[in-house]
């Protein structure tokens, strides 16, 4: 009757064995649902806790478990009823970590004249000194320099954190605060002054209070690690110790919707106006990333205007496919540059120099075999419909387009670390699909060296003449096994030499380290794209599969020398994070952007002709008068453009160069549309070069130049402009 294996000596051991055998695995779908729902409750619960704290009352009964929980509360945590603890909890709650949860991250400003500034000062410094993820660019200023990214100096979050002190400290909640918090603070803080609030919040980045993006860097840095230095000695209260302990926690974001403040954007201040007489040469690297546009769309669709720093105009312009002339047999380069000069839509006295570069599109069937390693972030924060499930769907879309010679492997990091799918032929869709389905977010142990594993695997897979690429898909947690940010960048730059490309795909909002994505992709010879919808996945991974995955020109740099006899001033619109030093142009060691098969790249200069009423820079009184006269044969030339590129995998660069004619022509719809998008970007950045030109003008210009627009991208852009227009009012 009784089975033999249950007859051991210790009945407990038998029971244990039987239990282990009988133990079912938790249902994955329910797990996801439970975690998500729990997160929601957690978020709403913070509000009710705040309300409870105001009265120093015990939590009201909620739900059938409340009785048990209240009992446990009182048994385990008598301190909850102590007012000082409540205040401390309340204050901690507005600390950077608390803020993530609140999702209405208005700045908290300590009133002046108290001891707080002395405390918040070193704190405000500390986070800057330790950029949370990727710090400085490795080579020159090719890359998104997080250091230089404008950050509101008096970090509101950090200031708030400094307020975690033993005594109740005066706090001011500015008007921009969410509705709940000010009440709570008013109850716990002795002083609230609207006048002070207005005054002080004026010193902060206005955007910071508007949508929280501006507050990102310091907040994140603070919650990341710099807070270790925070002197927060609250005697006899364990909560006080938490900032220091919290430092080990990643600012992940597992709930969708409102914007928390741990996003970071890479940008420089807009390229300034340059005087041709002083700096006749402008040099930059091409940029085929499109992440900024997708981010912009996601922000606008949520009813928020993006932070100016989130706007990278070149990425907006380059988001759209343009019908530029394609290279033919007569072209030495694998791309065809086209330059047009036409009047600026927003200024009749200046001109736009529109440079369109169209890459060749080799026949798909001729393409080399492709090895793709998906490096997938499966950390808990990916547990969100807009993250891992979207990612899986996106990759499925792409699988259909791969050839049987292509190979796919999957590596995950965080949680279930390691190789989730050994290199598999793309024809074996069942296996690949099963591996994708099995991916689960959650788990927390660090997958050691996910990136190394991915690169090693890619190296293994690479056969002769094949192209290998690592596709890193993440929501911003770059904890991929190399802890030192600089080492990470160096590692990727090293791997670049092996010929393996890296693409970074961003998913979800809330924790997106846009600057890190940029830096990684730029260092890894790749592109960064942000995927917010399946539609966007289609665009990035399917429609542009060839371009996104097959480079036709590496390290493509552009240099324009303006003719001082014709052009007095110029400025490059966008490309701030891609500016190169003049001498870097011919230096093949300096990395630059890659051009993918069939991709087009657009760059636009706004130039002011000599003698134009639009000149902004007055001539110097004491400048030397005599200038060497320009040779007569150059009088018709506006400037001279040079493009340098390397054949994929080659070490030495090649050069094409040709003059730009000074005659202003009629531009086609393509260039006009690009100009409309550039103007849209300028509007969002709050540029002062636009004069009276406004959203209505941008909409009219874009609408008039939609062209064929086979995929509806341009129509969508017009919708976004309209949205921005109403949001800006």
């Amino acid at each position: 009757m009784t089975s033999k294996e249950t007859t051991g000596n210790d009945p407990l051991d038998d029971l244990k064995r039987a239990m282990a055998q009988a133990m079912p695995a938790p249902d994955a779908a329910r797990r996801e649902a439970n975690l998500a729902r729990s997160q929601e409750i957690f978020a709403t619960h913070q509000g009710s806790l705040q309300a409870a704290r105001q009265n120093s009352a015990t939590p009201t009964h909620r739900g059938f478990f409340a009785g048990v929980f209240d009992m446990l509360f009182t048994r385990t945590t008598g301190a909850l009823t102590a007012t000082t603890a409540l205040v401390a909890v309340g204050l901690l709650y507005v600390s950077p970590l608390g803020e993530q949860l609140l999702r209405a991250p208005g700045p908290l400003v300590p009133t002046g004249g108290t001891a707080i500034p002395e405390i918040s000062e070193p704190l405000a410094q500390a986070p800057r000194a330790v950029p949370p993820v990727i710090a400085a660019p490795t080579t020159g200023d090719t890359f998104a320099a997080t250091e230089a990214a404008p950050v509101p100096a008096p970090s509101p979050s950090v200031a708030a954190d400094a307020v975690v002190l033993p005594v109740p400290v005066p706090l001011v909640a500015p008007e921009a605060e969410g509705a709940r918090r000010p009440e709570a603070l008013a109850a716990t803080t002795p002083l609230t002054s609207d006048a002070d609030a207005a005054d002080l919040s004026g010193t902060l980045n206005a955007e910071a209070s508007a949508d929280g993006i501006g507050t990102t860097s310091p907040a994140d840095a603070a919650s990341g690690r710099a807070i270790v230095a925070a002197p927060a000695p609250v005697p006899g209260n364990q909560i006080a110790a938490s900032p220091a302990r919290i430092q080990a926690i990643p600012p992940l974001d597992a709930t969708p919707a409102p914007l928390p403040d741990s996003e970071e954007f890479a940008n420089e201040s807009p390229s300034p106006l340059r005087l041709v007489a002083d700096e006749p040469v402008s040099t930059f690297s091409i940029d085929v990333d499109t992440a900024a546009y997708a981010l912009l769309r996601s922000t606008l669709n949520r009813g928020q205007l993006p932070a100016p720093d989130a706007i990278r105009i070149e990425e907006m312009v380059n988001y759209f496919p343009y019908d530029y002339p394609a290279p033919d047999a007569g072209d030495v380069s694998p791309f065809r540059p086209t330059v047009q000069v036409f009047p600026t839509p927003w200024n009749p006295d200046t001109q736009l120099v529109h440079i369109g570069i169209q890459g060749i599109l080799p026949a798909i069937e001729d393409r080399p075999a492709l090895n793709l390693v998906f490096l997938i972030d499966t950390s808990g924060s990916m547990n969100d419909p807009a993250k891992l499930p979207l990612l899986i769907q996106s990759f499925r879309l792409m699988l259909d387009r791969l050839n049987p010679e292509d190979q796919v492997a999957i590596v995950t990091y965080a949680g279930s670390a390691g190789v989730a799918l050994e290199p598999t032929s793309a024809a074996d869709t069942v296996t690949i699909s099963r591996a994708l389905t099995a991916l689960q977010a959650g788990g927390s142990t660090n997958g050691v060296g996910g990136l190394q594993v991915a690169y090693d695997l890619a190296a293994q897979m690479t056969g002769n003449g094949e192209v290998s690429r690592v596709l890193l898909a993440t929501d911003g947690d770059f904890n991929i096994g190399i802890s030192d940010p600089e080492a990470l960048e160096n590692y990727i730059a090293e791997q670049r030499e092996t010929g393996i490309y890296l693409s970074v795909l961003g998913f979800g909002r809330g924790n997106l380290q846009d600057d890190t994505m940029q830096a990684l992709a730029q260092n890894g010879n790749g592109t960064a794209a942000y995927i917010d919808t399946l539609h966007e996945a289609q665009r990035v991974l399917v429609d542009q599969l060839a371009g996104a995955l097959f480079p036709i020109a590496d390290d493509l740099k552009v240099q324009v020398e303006f003719n001082p006899a014709v052009i007095a001033e110029y400025r490059l619109i966008g490309y701030e994070t891609r500016a190169l030093a003049r001498e870097d142009f011919a230096n093949d060691a300096v990395d630059a952007g890659e051009l993918g098969a069939g991709h087009s790249v657009t760059a636009i200069y706004e130039v002011t002709p000599v003698g134009s009423p639009a000149l902004r820079i007055a001539p110097l009184r004491y400048a030397a008068e005599e200038t060497t006269p320009i040779r007569a044969e150059f009088a018709e030339e506006l400037g001279f453009i040079s493009l340098r590129w390397k054949a994929p995998g080659a070490a030495d660069s090649q050069l094409v160069e040709f003059p730009i004619s000074a005659t202003t022509g009629q531009s086609g719809t393509e260039a006009q549309f690009a100009a409309a998008i550039a103007g849209f970007g300028e509007l969002l950045r709050g540029s002062d070069f636009l004069g009276d030109w406004n959203y209505s003008d941008a909409i009219a210009l874009a609408n008039a130049n939609r062209g064929a627009d086979a995929f509806g991208y341009r129509a969508e852009a017009v919708q976004l402009m309209r949205l921005a227009q109403s949001l800006a009012q």
């Binding site: 009757m1 009945p11 133990m23 385990t76 970590l97 926690i249 808990g380 924060s381 949680g415």
Partner: protein, 180 residues
């Protein structure tokens, strides 16, 4: 490294209002929590429901975590209490349940005896009664007697006595079955 924050660190952060830490912690302990719920209830469906109940109630609970106990100890206490509560509710509603208790009813009604270890497990667990069963649910997960005592709100001596008692009963059950 970020991912290496201890459970306690995460819990403290979550108690301070950090949703991220909360999500991370819950993701980390979910499997263990589910396993405990299964040992407490004896049925997969019941374990799923109980786990869900606990997940939904944890946000409110966690604000009370003060770092005095290990997170697992604290969490197990929540789970055991939730299980007790659930049993009470089901008893008062007279609802049919499955699981350890249910199996006992089944066995009484139909004398069908299955032969595999899983059924022995059910027979054994069903024969123990709630108190001993809850204690074993913890002890089988390498929880020390001291911790189990803390979780159950009883003295360590009582835990040890219960474990001994459970062993005795298990032996009895086995002997009875071998005799039959």
């Amino acid at each position: 490294m970020r991912m290496e924050a201890s459970d306690e660190d995460l819990a403290m952060a979550a108690a301070g209002g950090d949703a991220t830490a909360f999500g991370l912690l819950l993701g980390r302990v979910y499997s263990r929590l589910f396993a405990l719920c299964f040992r407490l209830t004896g049925s997969r469906a019941e374990a799923e429901d109980l786990t869900q109940d606990i997940c939904l109630a944890l946000p409110a609970k966690l604000a009370g975590y003060r770092g005095q106990a290990r997170v697992t100890t604290w969490l197990y206490r929540v789970a055991v209490n939730a299980a007790t509560d659930r049993r009470r509710r089901q008893a008062s509603y007279g609802r049919a349940t499955e699981g350890w208790g249910d199996w006992e009813i089944d066995r009484q009604q139909s004398a069908v005896e299955a032969e595999d270890a899983t059924d022995w497990l059910h027979r054994a667990m069903a024969g123990l009664g709630d108190g001993l069963r809850d204690t074993l649910a913890l002890v089988l997960d390498e929880v020390t007697h001291a911790e189990a005592a803390e979780i159950l709100g009883i003295s360590e001596g009582t835990v040890s006595w219960r474990v001994a008692e459970a062993k005795k009963k298990l032996r009895e059950i086995r002997e009875k079955e071998e005799a039959s």
